[in-house]
């Protein structure tokens, strides 16, 4: 990925910064300029807690170019506590079987094992089991 492109996304990748709608208080991730709930302009930053639960999941055995060394790896839709769903890899699973509803928390990890075609190591959010989270 282009270095500038990754740099532009650094707040989202490292800190899960999205937006809160000043009109209807909806929490938005990834950030977008039009609130998906009320259709009005939304540009106020909001830092997500990074806590959520697994909404759906799959394990990948055929990877896109640049991700082959991670195989097999597990990706998930994570329903964040504040509402939005985010797509991310799961990590630190150990022998834990992944289940829908499992509580998870955000961590920062290397997304591609070997760096990309420009030699850049790309870090960003992944999610791991949240052992201490209250069961909902």
């Amino acid at each position: 990925m282009e270095i500038s492109r990754h740099w532009r996304l650094k707040k989202q990748r490292y800190s899960l910064i999205g937006e809160v709608c000043p009109h209807c208080d909806a929490k938005i991730f990834p950030p977008r300029d039009v609130c998906p709930e009320c259709g009005q302009e939304a540009r106020s930053e909001f830092a997500f807690s990074g806590r959520g639960q697994v909404y759906s999941h799959t394990t990948i055995y055929d990877a896109p170019a640049g991700y082959e060394n991670n195989l097999p790896y597990t990706v998930a839709l994570i329903k964040l506590d504040e509402g939005p769903i985010v797509t991310a890899q799961l990590t630190d699973l150990g022998a834990q079987p992944v289940e829908i509803g499992m509580p998870v928390e955000m961590v920062t990890r290397r997304i591609r094992e070997d760096g990309d075609e420009r030699g850049m190591l790309v870090y960003g959010y992944k999610f791991r089991p949240a052992w201490n989270a209250p069961i909902k």
């Binding site: 799959t58 990948i60 990877a63 170019a65 797509t87 829908i100």
Partner: protein, 391 residues
Amino acid sequence: MREVAIVGIGQTPVDEHWDKTLRLLAGEAIFAALNDAGRDQVDGLFVGNMMSGELSRQESLGALIADWIGLPGIEAMKIEAACGSGAAAARAGMMAVASGEMDSVLVVGVEKMTDSLPSETTSGLATAADADYEAAQGLSFVAINALAMQRYLYVSGWKHTDFAPFSINSHANAVHNPYARLQEAITEEEYHKARMIAAPINLLDASPTGDGAAALLLVPREYLRPTTRGYDGRGRPVITIAGSASATDTIALHDRRDPTWLRAAELSAQRAYAQAGVGPQEIDLFELHDAFSIMSALSLEACGFAERGQGPRLGLEGQITLSGRIPICTRGGLKARGHPVGATGVYQMVEVVQQLRGEAGATQVEGARVGMAQNIGGSGATIVTHILTAL
């Protein structure tokens, strides 16, 4: 608006065409369509294609193909909507004829996929997703469909095995289609034992890629005059585009209000039904976008053939077979005819025309007069629905 007729169809087999270039494949389908129509006058060319820039380092396909078929000078352009590019190009061509802007339009869908390494093709297909928030996390296109299917199984209570009839039906029909990539039947046992590619999706849930091209020739219906051998001079029924509609949804699966509902399929089908003055009960066959078995269930639900969460029941009850209530994937579908992504939507329309003309051989749906084709781009981001009728 003028009514638009499809007077010519053409297709190449879906296969690994190592000996043929992208332009040669497109030309084969186009010349077959012109020959089928007995015409050579063309005002414009609309090319459906997704990945020529990424996989063949070739864009400007409008000019490339117009030049190749000996028609430099005509207006020509590429239309892109990921895996929905083919039907999007057909719809662009339809609008050009309906509006009165053009009197004779070629539509060709073409994709060249097998020159590339599998991981390059996988990366290319992932460009249909949100590059920053889906593909950048290492998600393949299969994985995004697997996330939808896993959630669907959880919410609806169906088991993976309940999706077997979709793949078995497509393969059974492809046996009789000489243009199909996989002309072989599969058994329920083979389906259960297939290699997992992104759980719960296994190899027999997923459509094969391939190289291929399919073409249509469109003219205004009012220009067709009765002859002793029918309106097309060849004794065949006239096929008209009675409904044509396209709709969009969020590009990322995670941004959908319900990732197990194809809102754009529902919207485009409703618009096409309204134009054609029909409902799902009038549709005699449905070429749906079975890129993955989950998409068959979601498409049947969104288009009103099954209640929400009940798509797999139609397969289990045998209602999707040639003699069932709503035959689907009658020429093999994406699953077995193959899925040359940007060409697929045009293949589907060619196959509906075959059915309505009575040219579908051993897979003919008896008495078919109204057929529907629906082509999906991405995980449901662009969905194009066409309803064709025979007069």
